[in-house]
């Protein structure tokens, strides 16, 4: 049963401070409070005696000397291994790490980490392939657009430089008729490239693109 003691503190409070009291690490006020309490409390005196006994024994702990075999065997090892260990040896020492994976929880964690690492690798590879595919499609679309622009400029030149006014519309219309599928195809491919953000728009263009419907895109399908 806890005994109520002086200065509003219980015996338990005083007993928790006995170690600091012995080593003289308390402030003067607390130290004098403990000293006055100890004169009236047998239980705390007993605890102080125990603490002092422990202090004495700890100060006088046996200090055994090491057996001579230690120096002998370490010397033998040092003489036998004068050089630093090679990186190969250290690598094989790494296998000792596996000894620490004895706990089932650690094993499962290591396995999960390994699987996550593999999945991440596969995902990164797929992303790489998609990017390469998109690059190739874009280059194809650009070449088609350049071709369309060239044909259009030729047609316009022909139209305006021709002296025969009646023949000009006919000649202008002919290349326009030829290049319209190419322009539409180029625009369609461009829309597909940006179509990840707006699938609906892409789908609309694709449905209007006769060339794509005929699977004539040599750049491959990136969907």
């Amino acid at each position: 049963m806890t005994q109520r003691a002086s200065h509003g503190r219980t015996c338990e409070d005083f007993q928790t401070l006995l170690e600091e009291y012995i080593t003289g690490e308390l402030d003067d006020q607390t130290e004098s409070a403990i000293t006055s309490h100890l004169t009236t409390c047998d239980k705390c005196q007993h605890e102080l005696h125990l603490a002092q006994t422990i202090d004495t024994v700890l100060a006088d702990l046996p200090k055994p000397t090491s057996p001579p075999e230690i120096l002998r065997e370490v010397t033998a090892y040092v003489r036998a291994n004068p050089k630093s260990e090679s990186w190969l040896h250290r690598f094989f020492q790494f296998s000792n790490v596996l000894e620490y994976l004895r706990s089932p929880l650690l094993r499962v964690s290591a396995m999960v980490a390994l699987i996550c690492l593999m999945l991440l690798g596969v995902h990164q590879y797929q992303r790489y392939v998609e990017v390469e595919q998109a690059k190739s499609d874009f280059q194809y679309a650009m070449s088609k657009m350049q071709s369309a622009v060239r044909k259009t400029s030729l047609a316009v030149n022909d139209s305006f430089t021709s002296l025969n006014v009646d023949d000009a519309p006919r000649r202008a219309l002919k290349p326009t008729k030829d290049i319209s599928p190419a322009i539409q195809q180029s625009l369609g491919v461009l829309n597909i490239l940006t179509g990840s953000e707006n699938h609906q728009e892409s789908d609309t263009i694709k449905s209007n693109n006769p060339i794509q419907q005929n699977n004539q895109n040599p750049g491959g399908n990136i969907q």
Binding site: E19, A51, P62, P64, S66, I70, L71, R79, P82
Partner: protein, 177 residues
């Protein structure tokens, strides 16, 4: 570091490392093995060793090796069992008795009290025991211990006082039985 320099270092520190291992493992054979292993590791990493910090490095290494061994073996052997085998603390106490010359009655009381305190030390948690040994046996400063156990100085100081309180509780319990 040459071979001779290293062997000189072994001579200088082997007692301290052996004592630490012995108090942690409570077994002379294991303590001997761990001490040897500590110095072998030191030889393997001799390029990293610095004269000023070599003692702390060795203690840290020995401490880790001992903790690993305890973990591996789930070391739960009590001192009383080992005393029956005439090992470790029982043997250490005999060494101490030979040095003093009090009366037979005093020797008996002293022996019993010391035996109880040593049993109490053996019942402390391993990490706490390690700190108590460094502080009380090796007389290291709180700052030195803090560097080895990688804890703040105040935390180490608090651990030492908690260990003393725990020892008092264990000793009180042992005396009642």
């Amino acid at each position: 570091m040459t071979e001779d320099e290293f062997l000189e270092l072994v001579r200088k520190h082997q007692d301290g490392i052996y004592r630490h291992a012995l108090y942690l493992l409570k077994n002379t054979e294991d303590a001997k093995d761990m001490t040897q292993e500590t110095f072998i590791k030191a030889w393997q990493h001799r390029k990293k060793l610095r004269q000023k910090t070599v003692h702390a490095w060795l203690l840290k290494c020995a401490r880790n090796l001992c903790f690993n061994l305890i973990k591996r073996r789930k070391f739960q052997v009590h001192l009383s069992e080992e005393d029956d085998e005439g090992d470790t603390f029982g043997m250490l106490l005999k060494t101490q008795e030979n040095k003093s010359s009090p009366s037979p009655e005093e020797i008996t009381i002293m022996h019993e009290t010391k035996q109880l305190v040593h049993r109490a030390i053996g019942e402390l948690p391993t990490s706490m025991r390690s700190i108590v040994i460094m502080r009380e046996l090796e007389e290291m400063s709180y700052k030195e211990i803090a560097a080895i156990v990688k804890q703040p100085e105040n935390s180490v100081k608090s651990t030492v006082f908690r260990a003393r309180k725990r020892l008092r509780e264990i000793l009180s319990g042992l005396m009642e039985t």
